[in-house]
Structure formats: C-alpha cells, structure tokens
Subunit: 226 residues, 2 copies
DNA sequence: GCAAAGTTTAAGAAAGGTTAAAGTTATCCT
DNA sequence: AGGATAACTTTAACCTTTCTTAAACTTTGC
C-alpha cells in the first residue's frame, strides 16, 4: 500500500524539494501552498500524514492544526523556524504528533514520517490478521503459511503474492498488479519473473496438498482456483 | 533493590537537606526545583516515590499531581505550609498518598516514605512482569535474564530486543519494528546494527544453552524459533 | 499447426545475513 | 575532571538465501 502525504508549505522551493524526496522514498505527495488550500485537500480525501509549516500566509499553522484534526484523524508533523521549547510543547499538546525546526535534514524528516505512519497504523489497526482460502492459511503478523495444519516455508515475494491473491479470492490479478503489490520499487524487466514465482509457490503447495490453488487466466493474469 | 525518590521542591535548602537525609537512609534521590523539571524526570524514568511541594513557581503542585499520576503509577507524598483540612482532603482524593505540613521532622518523613513504598510494593506486587519463552526468562523490573536458572548478562539494547520478541512469540519483527521499540531516538543509518545485536544475543545464549532461540525470517526480520 | 502465452528447470546475480574486529560514544569510578 | 570500562555502531569479508534470467518445453486458442 502506498501512503499519501499532504505537504502544506508556502515556500515553493522547500515544498518541491520535500515532495521530490518523499516521492523517492516511496510516498505519494499532494502539495498545498497555503493553509486554506491544505484544508481543501483534507476535506476531499484521506491522507496517511500531513507535514505542516507553521509560518503560512493568511491562516497560520497554529490555527490550521485544530481544523485539520477536526476533519481527519491523521498524524501531523509540524515544521517551523521557531525553536523555543514553549511553542514545541504547546504544539504537541494541541495535537501535532511531532515537530521539526528549519532547516531540517530531509533524511530525518523521512525517518520521522516513518515512525508516525507506523505508529498510527498500529493504533488504528483494523486489519485482518489471518487470510484463509480453502485449507490454506496465511498469518500476516507471524509470516507463516499453513496448509491443512502443515506449515510451509515461503519467501518474501511468494508470501506477498499469495497475500494479494487471498485478499480478493475471486479477482484476477495481472502481473503488473502483482508487481505493484509485492515489490517495493517499481520493476522494469522480464515479466517472466512472476511466472517463476507462481511456479515455485505451486510446487511448494503441491508438496503438501493435492488441491489446485492458483489458476491461470490466459492472457490476463492469475486468480485463486474455484 | 535501591529505591529512587524524586524530590520536587523549589526551596534549595529544604531540597538539599531532604535529599541528604534520604540518601543517608539508603534511598537514591533526584532533585527537581520546579514542577516542569519534575515532570521531565517522571517521563524519563520510574521512581518508587515522589515528594511534592505544593508551593511551586510556575506550575503549582495541585496542577502537577494529576499529571504525575497520569504518567507514572507512583506514590506521592505532598508537603506544604497549608494545613487546612480542606486542602488535605482534596489532595488525598486527587491522588496523593500522604500529606505533611511544613516544618516537618525529617524522621517522620522517612517513616512515612517507608510506609508508602512498602504498601505500594504490595499492591503492585500482583504483576511479576516476567516474560518466559522455553527456558528463557526475562524479568522486566529487575532487568535480568535467566536461561535454565543460569543468569546471563544483557546490555540494554539486547534486553529490549528480547523483550520485544518475547512479547509476541509468534510474530515476526522487522528491523524497523525493533528500532522503534528498542531505541528512544529515531535512527537513521546502517541497518546492520540490529544484525550485530542479534548476533551478540545468540552468542550469549549459546554459551549456556544448546537451543535455538532467535530465528531469522529472510527478507522480513526476526522471530523466536518454533 | 502455429504463434503467443505460460511453465519448468537450472545457473548466475543480487540481496540479505553473520561474524569478528575496529572505531566511537557513553558511563562509571576514583 | 579524567581515565577506565562497557556499550553501541560501523566496517568489511564471508556466507546463505532469494531473485532474475535464459533456455527448453508445454499449453492454449485461432
């Protein structure tokens, strides 16, 4: 899953630079250049995180923060030139999850974003832990797979592919879909790679069960067998 | 075990005098000279007891007390010049365990401290806070680890890593998870650090036991062995 | 039957993991 | 305060697993 981040920052250069770095780090970015613009985005769609500059023309960050929090349950990292402890404490108590002072290292920002997104995912944590299909079970947090109680060893990619297929048992997934889900960076190259992984998964499954699990949809992709 | 006591008192003389007496009585002392300073210590580490002066510059004792209680389950003895019954009752109901009026006999204070610490140890005593896995035991409050009864020396990070793994024996923890849990500040840099710590833990465990404890999940992270 | 798409196998490449040792930082103790 | 000690991080060489690619083979659908 790709996380979307909203950047609210009036300085064009900083905004662009931040967006570039975050995209490289694998996030999706929406750039807002004023507080009001930022609010519009917040109303329109959900974000995984907001980066908020405090010094904004018109509505400033301090006013904006409570409004963001009101509209969407989302972690906010505040960025500002102010570095007094006072405003820091105030901000954290008024709802920001974290705080950075300018100028900041982009690497540190990315690290802090990671912390907040992960933490938020935990507290929100409404995700299913176990996926089941026929007699095949995938336990997401322990990374184990079992067939008829017998556990089988899967590699990371194999596990991810099965996870995707089990998430919607009826749906057909193209190779591109599978790449997008199971690989971190986008992958350009032989699309036979997927076939090999599928083949390996089938082999492992066949070793413990007679059943067919993965079905080939010719010219389209793969799906779980009926 | 040595008990640590936090003294929150703005009068330097009284603070020092109290600290001296408590040290002589065998306690460890941390001295804070304002409410906010006191809160910082409370956030940072656990205490066996807090001595809180009510008349403090800035944030006063009445405000501080609930915040202390929120951050840490610790008995509080309040000290004040006020001797009206009203404020006494109010304080006890708002969370203070005991109350003394200035000027006080240091011997009496020490006696009351002893009472509170003993009482608190009893009521808390219900939770041993010991994590167990196979023949490995981690005692959280005493920071000790034993294998088959033999105790082994772990460093802070090693202990934290084991603590995380033992908290959910089936779950796989990524290096990122481990960083988030065992390190206070966010970490940017080589992720080999974790590998080294894992390696060191294994070495220490291997010195006293044949068993495998930590399992590598390739491409994902680490987990306790089945 | 033929072309396009899929499967399988095997081997080399790449990524990730382990370990020991050296370098750095923090902590303790006098 | 300063030196000793312990803890943590980094480095680098080596090892293991996993991924990708290529080649030969099989299936599907026109």
């Amino acid at each position: 899953m790709i996380h979307k981040i909203l950047i609210i920052e009036d300085d064009t250069d900083i905004n662009n630079m931040t967006a570039d770095a975050l995209k490289k780090a694998g996030y999706g970015c929406t750039q807002a250049f004023s507080g009001t613009e930022g609010l519009l985005y917040i109303e329109k769609e959900p974000y995984s995180l907001v980066i908020l500059d405090l010094m904004l023309p018109g509505m400033n960050g301090e006013e904006l923060l409570p409004q963001i929090k009101e509209k969407q349950a989302v972690p906010v990292i505040v960025v500002s030139a102010k570095d007094s402890l006072d405003s820091k404490v105030e901000l954290l108590t008024s709802g920001a999850e974290d705080y950075m002072t300018k100028p900041f290292e982009i690497q540190e920002l990315i690290a802090r974003i990671g912390v907040q997104i992960r933490r938020f995912a935990d507290t929100q944590g409404g995700k299913p832990e176990v996926l089941t299909y026929k007699d095949l079970q995938l336990c997401l947090d322990s990374f184990t797979a079992t067939v008829q109680g017998k556990s089988i060893e899967l590699t990371r990619q194999e596990f991810k592919i099965l996870e995707l297929l089990l998430s919607h048992p009826d749906r057909v997934y193209s190779k591109q879909d599978i790449y997008d889900y199971a690989w971190d960076d986008l992958y350009i190259g032989e699309d036979k790679t997927i076939n090999v992984h599928i083949s390996n998964i089938r082999k492992k499954l066949k070793a413990v069960s007679e059943q067919e699990y993965i079905e080939t949809v010719w010219g389209i992709g793969f799906r779980l067998a009926k």
